[in-house]
């Protein structure tokens, strides 16, 4: 059970406090309700580029990192298609430094030209390092474009092209800031050796005076149900053929999410999972095989991907995958298999909750989904899933008409 308190400032900033007196540290986590899905199709990669700019100085403080490091702190941030999250950890006695820094950059950035110029280059290098200069690096760029026709999940967080990042202007930066980086679009989670009353007064003092801003009303185009199979064949300079198959699944807050999440574990969550045992160990068609999803807020994808053993025909490998999916859809799973993946979910949650850093970001993310207390109630939802539901969801999800397939083939 993770205890926490919650209050809201007048400007709409939601604050969550989790006390843990066993650590000398504190974590301050600020989540902004904006991700790559809120970008315009002509200016992708912006939410992430913006995350970099948040470290380029704010209205009253020339640099973010230095004062935090002086206070013994450390920080980082990440952007997804759904959200942008900033976190720092520092000795609890210095927590006010984090409030000072985070509130000033929520108040206003410095909008430095130099910072924009440098970070454009840095992000281009990040783009190259992770998505160009790496075998199979462009898979998700291609896969998203194939699987989504309409919803902005069709581009990656880093952006659809380097050009978009290179073209970003200071005007874009300002407009984005005032639209999204406001108290009413943010969640502040504080964890560690802190007191509720202390956090209340610090939050009032530093964040209270920031103008509320306008609540951003998200109105994203809805991805229409896929009606027929989609295929893409790519040839590339890679050593091994690879198979990727994606099926549309449910939003994160849909009750059927839990069954879907368990399905990915049944198929590939460990050495005793179905796909691994059958296709890597017994039939030896793949040298590795994974089934996963990103846990995205809006309706996401469940993916099966694997690299083929040299000499195996990709059609044969694909049929073998389909055969396994047919089997689980028709025959279902045993109670023991269900128990196994539920136990895994329980154990994974316990390990995740070990650090105050994780607890702070989890609370903030659950609050974004609608209720921070999900951190305590989700396990029960996993436990309610039945073998019958697993079978039914496999039948519904793994429908060929719901599927996008990519053959990523070696040139030679």
């Amino acid at each position: 059970m993770i205890q926490f308190d919650r209050f809201t400032l007048e400007n709409g900033l939601r604050v969550l406090v989790h006390e843990d007196k066993s650590t000398p540290m504190a974590v301050v986590n600020v989540l902004y309700d904006v991700g790559a899905k809120d970008e315009s199709p002509e200016k992708t990669g912006f939410a992430h580029l913006f995350e970099h700019l948040m470290f380029g100085g704010s209205k009253n403080i020339p640099t973010y990192d230095e004062p935090l490091q002086v206070a013994g702190g450390e920080n980082n941030a990440f952007t997804t298609n759904d959200l942008t999250n900033y976190y720092c950890q520092l000795p609890a006695e210095n927590i006010e430094t984090a409030f000072w820094l985070e509130s000033d950059r929520m108040l206003s950035l410095a909008f430095s030209k130099k910072s924009l110029e440098t970070q454009r280059k840095v992000v281009c290098e990040e783009f190259k390092e992770h998505y160009i200069n790496k075998p199979y690096g462009d898979v998700w760029h291609k896969m998203r474009t194939l699987a989504y026709t309409t919803h902005p999940y069709k581009w990656m967080t880093i952006g659809a092209s380097l050009q978009h990042v290179e073209d970003a202007t200071l005007e874009d930066v300002k407009a984005f800031f005032f639209k999204h980086y406001t108290p009413c679009n943010a969640i502040l989670a504080v964890a560690g050796n802190v007191d509720l009353e202390q956090i209340k007064s610090l939050a009032e003092k530093w964040f209270g005076p920031i103008p509320a801003g306008t609540k951003y009303n998200r109105d994203l185009p809805i991805e229409p149900a896929q009606k027929s199979p989609r295929h893409l064949e790519v040839k590339s300079n890679v050593p091994l053929d690879a198979l990727y198959k994606c099926w549309h699944i449910y939003p994160r807050t849909d009750d059927r999410y839990y069954a879907t999440d368990l399905i990915s574990d049944i198929l590939s969550g460990g050495g005793s999972s179905r796909l691994f045992q059958s296709l890597v160990k017994e039939k030896q068609l793949f040298s590795n095989l994974d089934c996963y999803h990103f846990g995205s807020t809006d309706a996401g994808l469940i993916t099966i991907e694997g690299k083929l053993v040299k000499g195996v025909n990709i059609k044969d490998a694909e049929s073998a995958v389909m055969e396994e999916l047919k089997k689980i859809s028709e025959e279902g799973i045993s109670e023991a298999e269900l128990e196994k993946v539920k136990n895994k979910a329980e154990s994974a949650m316990a390990f995740e909750d070990m650090s105050i850093m994780n607890r702070a970001s989890s609370i903030a993310m659950y609050e974004l989904l609608g209720d921070a207390n999900l951190i305590n109630t989700e396990l029960a939802k996993y436990k309610e899933v039945t073998a019958e539901q697993i079978k039914e969801q496999c039948r519904i999800i793994f429908d060929e008409n719901n599927c996008s397939t990519m053959y990523y083939l070696a040139n030679n």
Binding site: D20, N60, I61, D65, E66, P67, Q69, V70, A71, G72, G73, Q89, P91, E93, N94, T97, F99, W100, S103, E117, T118, Q119, R120, V122, C124, E125, K128, E129, I132, N133, K134, P135, P209, N237, V238, P239, L240, G269, G270, G271, S272, Q277, V280, K281, S287, N288, K307, K310, K340, N343, K344, A345, E346, S347, A350, F351, M354, S355, I356, M357
Partner: protein, 425 residues
């Protein structure tokens, strides 16, 4: 309220850090157990460390293969049954092979430890190394290697180590597809016999558990016929390459260069080591470092650049590592040398040094969050034959080492002609 004025802070250097002590005891067969019982979550991490790393192998790749295949079959259980036994209870059993040591690690909810200890025991007393499991391992390892060899950073990492330590040194050696093909069941069994069954073992256990765990560990591992003598690490001489500068083309379409610049450096026992950790932090050890500020934040040549001292037991190296745009790779290297020169010729300003001291102490304070992290610190100390003084002396150096000493150290070590230099495109 004036937002331009920073709130008052307590300097992290004014904190007194305490590493929660471990408990230690011996099993019936002499195995040392180190135990840290702490934390709110009902979880346990059990780590069995064997002196069975690649330093001990006669044939390349055999230490890693043996370690991997421990989990792939005993005389009573198939690989699938072993995996099921762990996974049914949400447990996770991993293994890893390093230069000196090889480990088997179990993560589990505390309530399931009783059911999982016998499975680990089985792996460590009765592994049978089935032929088919080896073949699958060979096939998949070869494929993984083929993919990795297309990554400039992977190739650069192997090559720089081979230049510094020499290809025949355990830290400098690397695997070829032929080595994987040459692995055999007989060699695995022999290695298992010598370095696991009759090997040298130390146990680290951390998390939240009841007092009778000592007895359970003794039941599970107290009868292993391990060697009670302390392990003797093979001493193999470094043989650095004569040539110091390399430019290697790995991929004609590369858009970045993987840059590695390295020089041999003594291990933890050397009096310069703890001080050098502070100098390294200033140089390239964190986000606010000289290298990062100049080469990423000022010039935008890279997404990230770091320097670090390798975590090796017998010998080590000081390394600078980055992936930079292809057209700015040479400029990046020049800037690295410029930053070395600055550290040799100019004293580090006091405010920068205080920042680094605070950052480092704050980092250690944060690192001690939870039983696994505390045990990780202890494990490092114990396996390197150090004691808690090492931890406290390191902190003393972070707080006390002065700018003059750091400049002397820069003059002693950060000399470009002492570095090997590599770019893989």
């Amino acid at each position: 309220m004036n937002r331009k004025i920073a709130p008052r802070i307590k300097d992290a250097v004014d904190y007194s850090l305490m590493l929660k002590p471990y408990e230690t005891y011996k099993l019936d067969n002499g195995i040392h157990v180190y135990s840290v019982n702490a934390g709110a979550q009902e979880v346990i991490q059990l780590e069995l460390v064997f002196y069975a790393g690649n330093s001990f192998e006669q044939q390349k790749g055999i230490a890693a293969a043996t370690n991997f295949l421990l989990k792939n079959g005993t005389s009573t259980k198939s690989a699938l049954q072993i995996n099921e036994a762990f996974e049914y209870y949400g447990g996770y059993c991993s293994r890893a092979c390093y230069n000196e040591t090889a480990t088997v690690t179990l993560h589990t909810l505390s309530k399931h430890i009783d059911k999982l200890l016998p499975v680990v025991q089985d792996m460590l007393t009765d592994a049978i190394f089935p032929q088919q499991e080896l073949e699958i391992y060979q096939q998949n390892s070869k494929q993984r290697l083929a993919v990795n060899l297309q990554k400039a950073e992977f190739v650069a990492g192997r090559l720089i180590d081979s230049y510094i330590y020499g290809k025949d040194h355990p830290y400098g050696t690397y695997t070829h597809p032929d080595d994987i093909a040459a692995l055999s069941i007989e060699a695995c069994k022999k290695f298992y016999e010598e370095y696991y069954l009759k090997g040298n073992c130390v146990i680290f256990i951390s998390g939240n558990f009841s007092n009778d765990l000592n007895k359970k560990l003794n039941d599970a591992f107290g009868k292993l016929k391990v060697n009670q003598q302390a392990a003797v690490l093979p001493q193999i001489k470094m043989k650095p390459s004569a040539e110091k500068k390399y430019r290697i083309q790995n991929d004609v379409n590369a858009v970045q260069g993987a840059i590695r610049i390295a020089t041999p450096f003594p291990n933890r026992l050397h009096p310069d080591f703890k001080k050098a950790m502070v100098l390294n932090t200033v140089f390239g050890g964190f986000f606010g470092s000289r290298l990062m500020s100049n080469i990423r934040e000022e010039k935008g040549y890279t997404y990230g650049i770091y320097s670090y001292i390798q975590n090796h037991m017998t010998e080590s190296a000081w390394l600078i590592s980055t992936e930079a745009g292809k057209d700015v790779s040479e400029a990046t290297i020049e800037e690295v040398y410029k930053e070395m020169k600055k550290l040799r010729e100019e004293k580090i300003p006091e405010d920068e040094l205080l920042l680094v001291r605070n950052y480092m102490i704050g980092g250690i304070l944060g690192d001690l969050d939870g039983p696994f992290q505390i045990m990780a610190k202890w494990k490092n100390i114990i396996l390197n034959n150090l004691d808690e003084d090492y931890f406290y002396d390191s902190i003393k150096e972070i707080k006390m080492v002065n700018a003059d000493t750091l400049m002397e150290l820069a003059n002693k070590y950060l000399q470009p002609e002492k570095f090997w230099e590599l770019v893989v495109y």
